[in-house]
Amino acid sequence: MFPAQPLTPVRWIFIPALQVLLATWLFIIPLRVFGLQLPEPVFAMVPTFAWALIRPSILAPFCLLLLGVAMDIIWGSPLGLWAVALLAPYGAVLAVRNMLVGQQLFIMWVGFAVACGMAELTGVLVTQVLSHGTPHVLGLICQWGVTVALYPLADRLIERFEDADVRFR
């Protein structure tokens, strides 16, 4: 358990966004460990899920837009792909926020997995439209799997800030 923190944008939006950007950057280093490449999780799904659950915010969608653009620049994907792929699950989680808040860890983890699946699916649809090709299923499952494994980070962020705004308790 973490004590609840005051809800200032710097603490719950900008610092997590910077951490996500740094982690994404670190994982694109061409490094092989025992002949295997590093996985490529979508670290940005952690704040995407957590921000929607902590409270509705005007800043969060724009921060996700910038985060998505930065990820596209770092990864070399079409500009806007990850912005759309992050904003779509953010909107969906925001819509079901009242049902998810306060649930058990397992239910929340399942919700996070569904949100990650939605982001991957959005990416697939965008890629099909832009490149007329469908990404490899195994690659999608791998990325989805390693991203779902990041839920404890999202849980930590939610626990720190979910009670901070009394209007949305």
């Binding site: 490449q37 969060a60 620049i73 912005a83 990416g123 990325q143």
Partner: protein, 381 residues
């Protein structure tokens, strides 16, 4: 006010509406960005300013970040090599033995190849200049497979240049900025590469899908490919030179033909960027325009069965005013497949007229000394 009522409940709705409005605006902005992206083209301006600036920031920082792990990896590799020196020595000796055998074969093949070239008057690709670079980032997700290389426009790298490592083709350059180039790997979902199956000379398009083994689409002919057939770049379309090793064909679990990439045999850290230009760009166009092509009325048609002319005669049609015209190599690129490129054998028994083409043609075989029109840099494939 009741005790259990939330005093802030009236503030929730405007905040929620504001958040939804912000979400919609952000989503529309993202879609607009997405629609403006045109990286699938080979145009230089398609790689936008945002990506260029971003790459210029990402590449040097990633280079610094990746230096310590690279040094550690090199150190571990050196230690491993030290401990496995004996087995490595044994393996290298065996490889050297095989290489010596191949060397004599290669010398014989080179000799016969040079003789055929001289006989056919064939011009081959000029040597392609290369630039070496270090890959500083590696994105390998399902939606993007690309690398940033620490050399850019200052080394005359251009969009479309092919990229190789020591084992084979890696991809092509899709974006260039000073000091950095982005290389789209063959496995990227938007990558399309024209290839040929070396054994049958069959053409195909190798389509990336984000997985490790791109698939072969649009295979032509009956039974064009077999397991472990070598796959080379075909050079069709003029983006890449012909004959760069790409990999070998395998049957995928989904029943489709796929390619195990040669480049994956080693790490893709140091790469070579080929400063290759399409042969049409290299053609000496002013000189080609100077050619005096005779009008169609000058065509000489020999009536069917008018006389038995030995086909072995030079296939030259005398034209009164113009000097003999050689078909430029650009117009008739050589496709050196085993069946297609073989010259027609003389058949003295047939009564086929010696020339039936509409454009008078002097074959290089007839007069090897005739100088092709596009000699200054024109390259057929």
């Amino acid at each position: 006010m009741a005790l259990r009522d939330n005093p802030f409940s009236e503030l929730r709705l405007p905040l929620l509406l504001g958040a939804v409005a912000a979400l919609i605006i952000a989503l529309v902005s993202a879609l607009a960005l997405l629609l403006s992206d045109r990286r699938e083209t080979l145009q230089i301006q398609a790689y936008g300013v945002t990506q260029k600036v971003g790459d210029q920031v990402v590449a040097p920082v990633s280079g610094w970040i990746s230096t310590p792990p690279r040094l550690v990896q090199d150190g571990l590799s050196a230690i491993r090599q030290y401990f496995f020196a004996v087995s490595e020595n044994r393996r290298l000796r065996a490889e050297l033995e095989q290489a010596r055998q191949w060397r004599s074969t290669a010398i014989a093949l080179q000799d016969s190849s040079e003789r055929y070239r001289a006989l056919l008057g064939l011009k081959v690709n000029p040597p392609v200049a290369m630039v070496s670079g270090l890959a500083v980032t590696d994105s390998r997700g399902p939606f993007a497979n690309s690398r940033l290389v620490n050399v850019g426009s200052e080394m005359k790298i251009e969009v479309g240049n092919p990229v190789m490592n020591e084992n084979g083709l890696v991809g092509r350059v899709v974006g260039v900025a000073p000091g950095v180039s982005r290389v789209l790997l063959l496995t990227d979902v938007s990558s399309r590469t024209p290839v040929l199956i070396d054994r049958t000379n069959s053409r195909a398009i190798m389509v990336g899908d984000g997985g490790p083994n791109p698939r072969l689409d649009y295979l032509r002919g009956q039974d064009p490919v077999q397991e472990n057939d070598p796959v080379l770049s075909s050079g069709d379309g003029g983006v890449m030179p012909r004959g760069i090793p790409v990999g070998r064909a395998v049957k995928g679990l989904d029943g489709r033909w796929r390619v195990v990439l040669s480049a994956d045999a080693g790490s893709i850290d140091y790469v070579r960027i080929l400063l290759f230009k399409d042969f049409r760009q290299l053609a000496n166009l002013p000189r080609l325009a100077e050619l005096s092509v005779p009008p169609p009325s000058m065509e000489v048609a020999v009536p069917e069965g008018a006389g038995l002319k030995p086909a072995a005669e030079p296939a030259v049609v005398p034209v009164s005013s113009a000097k003999p015209v050689v078909v430029p190599a650009v117009v008739r690129p050589v496709t050196p497949g085993p069946a297609a490129s073989r010259p027609a054998k003389p058949q003295p028994g047939t009564n086929r007229p010696a020339v039936q083409t509409s454009v008078p043609v002097e074959r290089p075989v007839a007069q090897p000394s005739s100088r092709p029109a596009a000699e200054d840099g024109d390259i057929p494939h």
